[in-house]
Point group: C2
Chain length 195, copies 2
C-alpha cells in the first residue's frame, strides 16, 4: 500500500518534462521529508494555477481574467509575435521598449503535423486587420520552425501593407567569435552595420 502511494507520486512527477525516475524519486522523498506547509503550498499552487489561469482573449498570454494585464493597460502600435507565453517575460525584461504581444502557442512544424491553422495565426490576422498597428515584430526562435513561421507570417501580412520585421540575428553580447557557429557568423556578416 505505502509503496503504491509513493510510486504514484513518483509517476506524477515523471509527467513533468525532463524528469526521469531518479529525479522524480528524489522529489517524492523530499516531499515526504518536507514540512506539511511546503507540500501543501506546491499542491495548492498547482490547483490554483490550473483553475484560475486562462488564455487572454486578445493576445493569447496566460491571464486570470479575460484580458491580460498588458492588453488591459498598454496601447502600442507595435505588436510582437512570440511562440509561447513565457517568451513574453524575456522580452519584457528589455527596458525602454513598449509593445503589445501575440502568442502563437506553437510554431509551424510539418514534421509534427502542425500547420498554420494549428497555431494562433488567424487571430493575429484579424487583430492586424481590425487594429491600426504599424509594425509586426516576429520574435519566434531562430530555429527551423521559428523561421518557417516568420516567413509565413510575413507572406500573409505584407499584402495588408503592414511592416513585418524579425529580430536581428548575429553573435551574442559577451560571446567569442571562436565559438559562434557558421550560420550565425554568416548572418552577422550579412547584417553588418557601419560604425
Amino acid at each position: 500500500m505505502e509503496e503504491n502511494l509513493i510510486e504514484k507520486l513518483i509517476g506524477a512527477f515523471m509527467s513533468l518534462s525532463g524528469v526521469g525516475y531518479k529525479t522524480a524519486q528524489r522529489y517524492a522523498y523530499q516531499i515526504l521529508d518536507e514540512d506539511e506547509e511546503v507540500a501543501n503550498n506546491l499542491a495548492s499552487s498547482i490547483i490554483e494555477v490550473k483553475s484560475k489561469i486562462k488564455i487572454c482573449k486578445e493576445c493569447g498570454n496566460f491571464s486570470s481574467s479575460d484580458l491580460c494585464d498588458i492588453c488591459k493597460t498598454r496601447k502600442s502600435k507595435i505588436i510582437c509575435v512570440v511562440k509561447e507565453p513565457k517568451d513574453i517575460n524575456c522580452i519584457e525584461k528589455v527596458k525602454n521598449f513598449d509593445c503589445v504581444y501575440h502568442v502563437l502557442h506553437g510554431c509551424i512544424s510539418p514534421l509534427d503535423n502542425k500547420g498554420p491553422d494549428d497555431i494562433r495565426i488567424k487571430e493575429l490576422l484579424s487583430r492586424v486587420s481590425t487594429n491600426n498597428y504599424e509594425e509586426v515584430i516576429v520574435a519566434t526562435n531562430p530555429d527551423v520552425q521559428g523561421e518557417a513561421t516568420a516567413m509565413y507570417i510575413a507572406k500573409i501580412l505584407k499584402p495588408l501593407g503592414i511592416k513585418v520585421t524579425r529580430l536581428a540575428q548575429g553573435i551574442s553580447m559577451g560571446s567569442e567569435l571562436e565559438y559562434a557557429d557558421e550560420v550565425t557568423l554568416s548572418r552577422a556578416i550579412e547584417a553588418r552595420r557601419e560604425l
Copy 2:
C-alpha cells in the same frame, strides 16, 4: 495578478532540491499547458502522500499504517541499517537476500550539528536489545558521515555481543581500474580474496 499565481507556482517548485528558477519555470508552464487531469493527479498525489504516509514504528521506513509491509510480514535474524527510506528500495532489488531494515533518517555529521541523538540510533539499540538478531549490517553510504555512523554503531553494539558488519568496499562491477580513485583501490587491495 496572473503573474503572481504563476510566480507563486514557480516559487513552490523551487522548494524542491536541485530546481532553480529556469527549471521551475519550465515545470510551471508545462502544468499550464498540460491537461487538467495531469495537474490534478500531481497535486492530489502530493497531498495524499503527505496525509497518509507516516513512519513505521518498528523500522522507520515510510508506511501508510503503523507497521510497514516489511516489518509486518518478514521475520529475519539480520537487520540492515540504512540512512534513508529510499535506500531500502536499493537493497530490496538484490534478490535472494532477506533482512529487516532500520532507517536512521540521517547520519552523524558534526559539521551539520547532527549527533547520535539526532538520528534513530536509540531505537536501533532498543530493537537489538529486545529482539534476537544475529547480525547488524551497516549499509550507510561510504562517505565520511556514513563511515562515522558505522563506527559509532559498531562501538555501541559490539558490547552486546552482536555481530556488526559493513558492506564491502571495492571497485564496482563493470568499471575500469583506470577510473577507480585511490581510496577505493586501496580498500579493494586490502580486502582482496583468494580465488
